[in-house]
Amino acid sequence: MPDRRSVRLTCTLNGRRLSLDAHPMARLLDVLRQQAGLTGTKEGCGEGECGACSVLLNGRLANSCLTPFAHADRATIVTIEGIASGDDLHAVQEAFLECGGAQCGICTPGIVLAAVDLLERTPHPTEHDVRAALAGNLCRCTGYMRIFDSVLEACRRLSASRA
């Protein structure tokens, strides 16, 4: 019978290489918040329904509540703490501030990551694309319209900065 055990794994977290120790089946969410001290990643439902725990795992959006620590081995992970560069907010973050895309803020880290992921893959999304990309993220405060506005505003800012 296997007993309580932890493994040491190395990953690149927000651009820094580091080693972490945890049970291989521990939720990446808990390892990030407790071991790595990165509490920007939130827990909403703990069952893959709300997206509050979203991170980028090897460049793809993932729910960290459903990701076992074992899958962080040699992975590149970006959490909400890795989205701004220093004091310079990402265009998505600025747009959320400007358009009132956040209220209580619990869903915001996950939604910002889902939006960043969308804009990296689809630089000129339609409103339908935005809605589809955020279908895995629940918000109990905003009613979503300002979130969709924020993402489209971020897209305008990014296009303007590229031009």
Partner: protein, 284 residues
């Protein structure tokens, strides 16, 4: 807060060989892929303790390969991979539709087709499409490889013919032409919802008679079912009100929906019938 992990282990083999060896040496060990189902069960305290074998990094179980007879989809192919595969969009559009309708982006990036089959949920979205396409599963263990038709795979609620130590390695879809496909999932909300009824159909017409037809449904029986009686009622007929009514009667006799928190048996039966009618009217 995360549940206790006492008694759980997740080991990461370096190769498929090693993974199959681990599964053979511990009959209670279970495979672990993207985690989108098992981690939910773990958190809910419903996952059996013991050893899990992490298949996620095994390249042998990934990828989509084409031969003149079939297209083989590795068991670890994610919903996102399915959505991005041109050959599937061209020849097996129902599978792509099902992948699009399963969860949000984050789930689609991590959930695998093999996991969706092995989790054996009667409400899973991809299995009806696989039934319609006459999918064949390739199963592997240290004893070797065998192939079984997917129609024979599920035997009762959450029961399947996987032997201890055996995993699903590949899903083989025979190539086909001349079929018209139909898919519709009915749920409480378009995205990220578990279906109340999921319907997949495919029909090949010869003039105005039905040369062949496949009908499969999710969420209307203890496991995903192919409606073989409705199919045989339709074969050789032309599609008119009489044929549609006969097919509906056959369908109602071979599904066994239940009342649960997502819907009622009566509603599901009605929706299943209506979807069959819509499918057949589209094919006229």
């Amino acid at each position: 807060m995360s549940t206790s992990l006492d008694g759980f282990d997740l080991v990461t083999p370096a190769s498929l060989e090693e993974a199959l060896g681990l599964l053979a040496s511990d009959p209670a060990a279970r495979p672990f892929a993207g985690g989108t189902d098992l981690m939910v069960q773990l958190e809910a305290g419903r996952l059996r303790a013991g050893r899990y074998v992490n298949l996620w990094d095994l390249a042998e179980l990934r990828g989509i390969t084409e031969s003149p007879e079939s297209v083989a989809v590795g068991a670890l192919t994610t919903y996102t991979d399915i959505r991005n595969a041109d050959v599937l969009a061209r020849e097996y559009p129902l599978l792509v539709r099902a992948a699009e309708e399963t969860g949000g982006t984050a789930t689609q990036n991590r959930g695998t087709i093999g996991g969706n089959i092995a989790n054996a949920s009667p409400a899973a979205d991809t299995p009806p499409a696989l039934l319609v396409y006459d999918a064949e599963l390739e199963l592997r263990s240290t004893a070797g490889t065998r192939r079984v038709p997917y129609t024979a795979f599920h035997t009762a609620y959450k029961q399947m013919i996987l032997a201890p130590g055996e995993i699903i390695s590949r899903i083989r879809l025979p190539r086909r032409t001349g079929w018209l496909d139909y898919y519709r999932k009915v749920g409480p909300r378009r995205a990220q919802a578990i279906s109340k009824v999921c319907f997949a159909g495919s029909i090949a017409m010869s003039g105005d008679t039905v040369a062949d037809v496949r009908i499969a449904l999710g969420s209307v029986a203890p496991f995903v079912v192919r409606a073989v009686q409705a199919e045989s009622v339709l074969r050789g007929k032309s599609i008119n009100d009489e044929a549609i009514a006969a097919a509906e009667r056959a369908l109602r006799s071979e599904v066994a929906p239940i009342d649960d928190l997502r819907s009622t048996a009566e509603y599901r039966l009605r929706v299943a019938s209506n979807l069959l009618r819509e499918f057949l009217s589209h094919s006229q």
